[in-house]
Every structure is written in structure tokens, then in C-alpha cells.
């Protein structure tokens, strides 16, 4: 492996370098479907041992803090559950009066986030769970703070989620009172060190106050209604006469998450009685 510089080796080095550049360019140009399939294949075979190791490390690091957090959450849940039976009965009675269908049951799948060293980590998240858990492409990913993203690719032992920081992320949203609808997308032109979302497509006649909570609207069929996304942090841009774009401070930070929940929303056919 010791270097022996010379004209011949220089030429072969340059050719090898150019070959690698061409292959990298080819990888960039691959259609997303192929690149996800390729990445999934390598993760499930060659990189399986290292991912297993990383998952054990993440579990080891967070098990103690998770236990303490779980204890606190359990205490709060016990307190909140005391009035739950009465509320459920009342809810069922009102739904029956209005001839509404029963609420769609949403199952959750917990998963560890396996952060990577690459600077693009956070736009996509590698999750330590696979298809055996029942997760499917398109399932929403949430954290206790709010919406994180959506599953892009599901493998046997690992899964990739697109977070709200990904340039392609979009979600149909509404304000907490449901009066203002729009689309939430990552902000393209923000100042340095600021990470904001944009609440786009809000009609010019509608005004949203700073601090208003924005939730998923449930339109589009991917994200169920009512998942918190962020709080309005001011007007980003006004298209005179027809649209306002608001800055939205996201509630969940994909770069710092250790655990997430994947929502297993039943398909329409599954949820029908």
C-alpha cells in the first residue's frame, strides 16, 4: 500500500479517480426508487452487523433515561385515565346520536433513531425497525413533540423516514381551530442557523396570529388529523391580493430525536366495519 509516485501510477490514479467520480455521478442520477432499493439491499446484507451494533448502543444509552421518562409518563397517564372511561362512554353516546362511525384506531410502532455522521442526517432518519413490525411506506412518523415525517422505505431490519427538513416534504395543515387551511413545506430561503417551515397557500383574507398552533388537517390521506406540526412565528411573505406565507417554528427536531413512533393508520378498507 506504500506510495510509489511516478508518471505511470499518476495516470492510473487519475483514471481510478475519474472512474469513481463517474460512478458517483451515476449514483446521483439514479431514480429514487432504485436508489432506495439499492440502499435497502446493502443495509440488509453487508451493513446489517454494524446497524445491529449501533442499535444496541442506542438502546444502551437511552434505556436508563427512557425508564425514568416512562415512569413520569405513566404517572401522568394514570391520572389522566381516571376520567377516561366516562369520556369514552359520553363520546360513544354522542356519536351514536349523530350517526357517526367509530373513531379510526391508530396503532403505534416505537423505533430507535440511528443517527449518522453525514451532514445530511436529519433530512432522512434511519430507524431501527423493519417490515416485521407492520410498518409500511407512507406511514407517518411522530415524536411526543409533534410530526417528524413519513416512511420512505421499509426494509427487513431497518427503515428510512423522510423528515420535515427534507426539501420534498409536504403536509396538508390547518390551524388549531380548523378555520385556516394550507400546505406546510420546509423553508427554502432562511437566515443562517434558522430552521423554519412555511405555512403556504393561506388565503389573503385569513390572518393567523403569531403563536398559533398548526396541526395536520387529515386531507390527502397520509397523515391523520390533529398531529401538531409547529407554531406560527410571523409572516414570511405576502403575495398581494391572494396569498400569505407564514413562518412556522417546528415542534419536533429530527436532529435530536432518540425515539419516534410510527403511526399505523389502517387503510380505508381496513377501517370500515
Amino acid at each position: 500500500m506504500n506510495r510509489a509516485p511516478g508518471r505511470a501510477t499518476s495516470r492510473s490514479d487519475t483514471l481510478l479517480f475519474l472512474g469513481c467520480l463517474v460512478l458517483s455521478g451515476g449514483a446521483i442520477a439514479l431514480p429514487e426508487r432504485w436508489s432506495y432499493a439499492l440502499a435497502n439491499g446493502v443495509r440488509e446484507t453487508a451493513l446489517r452487523p454494524v446497524l445491529w451494533l449501533q442499535q444496541r448502543a442506542v438502546e444502551g444509552r437511552t434505556s436508563r433515561s427512557r425508564f425514568q421518562a416512562l415512569q413520569a409518563e405513566r404517572d401522568s397517564a394514570v391520572f389522566a385515565a381516571q376520567s377516561l372511561t366516562e369520556l369514552a362512554v359520553e363520546n360513544e353516546r354522542l356519536r351514536a346520536l349523530l350517526a357517526l362511525r367509530g373513531r379510526t384506531a391508530v396503532a403505534t410502532i416505537p423505533a430507535e433513531v440511528l443517527h449518522q455522521a453525514a451532514p445530511t442526517d436529519g433530512r432522512t432518519l434511519l430507524l431501527g425497525m423493519g417490515s416485521a413490525s407492520g410498518a409500511r411506506v407512507g406511514d407517518p412518523v411522530i415524536s411526543p413533540e409533534g410530526l417528524v415525517g413519513v416512511l420512505l422505505s421499509v426494509g427487513g431490519k431497518s427503515t428510512v423516514a423522510m423528515s420535515w427538513a427534507h426539501p420534498d416534504f409536504r403536509v396538508s395543515a390547518a390551524t388549531e381551530d380548523g378555520t385556516v387551511l394550507g400546505i406546510v413545506a420546509p423553508s427554502v430561503n432562511t437566515e443562517a442557523s434558522e430552521t423554519f417551515l412555511e405555512f403556504r397557500g393561506v388565503a389573503y383574507r385569513d390572518t393567523v396570529a403569531t403563536g398559533t398552533l398548526v396541526l395536520t388537517s387529515g386531507l390527502g390521506g397520509v397523515y391523520p388529523r390533529g398531529i401538531p406540526i409547529g407554531r406560527v412565528a410571523g409572516v414570511r411573505k405576502e403575495e398581494l391580493g391572494w396569498e400569505r406565507i407564514y413562518r412556522l417554528a417546528p415542534l419536533a427536531n429530527p436532529g435530536h430525536l432518540a425515539h419516534v413512533l410510527v403511526l399505523r393508520v389502517p387503510a380505508p378498507a381496513e377501517s370500515l366495519p
Binding site: F17, L51, R61, T120
Partner: protein, 164 residues
Amino acid sequence: MSPRRGSSQLLLGFVLLAGLHFYVRPRLWDSRAAPDFLLLALMLVAIRARPGVAALAGFIVGLVNDVLTPASFGAGALAHTVVGYLAAWGRAVFFPDNLLVNAGLFAGGVMLRNTLMLLASGTPAGQLSAGLLVWAPLQALTTAVAGTVILLLFRNWFAIRIEV
């Protein structure tokens, strides 16, 4: 040292770096500023190898990065290929035996890798400036410190001569 013992020590060194990257790093400090031991392994290959071999090693390390963070597939392979190739050439130009030069090489490698990766993956302006001005220098610093410690402790394993 016999060549056989040397190559097994070298292999052990890279296994150690993989262990640090995939077990110790997520266990102790899982942050965007945490040292990148895979890039460190690439730089250690680049220090010893010809530029072509370093470029190939960079391509493989980059591909591993792309597989684990498929935000923009291929961007990592491109960035690591360039970093490996330039590091191998840079090694011939600068003083190869100086510890500080090695630390600078590690830090420069992280900065260049992050810059190329963010640019090649079409990062929006806000995230780009935060990535380049905040996270890249922090990660470069921690990687340089980690690399210096590893060089001091295991330089015989990697067969690298250092003037201390």
C-alpha cells in the same frame, strides 16, 4: 515487525475505528458535532496509499454513508472520493510526519466533505449556511482531536510515523 503482523494490526486498527463509529459514538455522544470515525479511517488510508486507491476507498466509504443516510444518494460517494484523492495528494505536498499537520488534514477533510455533500445534495440556503458555518467546523474540530489521539495511541498499528 513482520508484514503479516503489520497487516493484522492495520486490520485491527480499522475494526477499532468501525467500533468507535458504530458503537462508542452513538453510545456516548450522538450529535452532528461528534467525530466521524469513518472519515478518519478514510484519511488514514489516504495517508498511506496512492491517490487512486484513496479515491476508491473514499468512494466505498461514501457509498456506506449514502446507504445509511439516503437523503441524496451518490452525494456522499462523490464527496468522499474527492476528499480521499486530495488527501493522498496533499500528504505528499505537506509535512507528513507532523502531528499538527495531520490534525489539520483531518479537519480539512471534514470541512471539504461536508461542503461537497451539502452542495451535491441540493441543500436549501438556510440549512447550507448553518451546516457550513456551525456544524462543519465543530465536527472538523472534534474529528481532528479524536484523530490526533488515535494517531498518538495507535500509530504503530497504522504504520504511520509521527514526530512528537
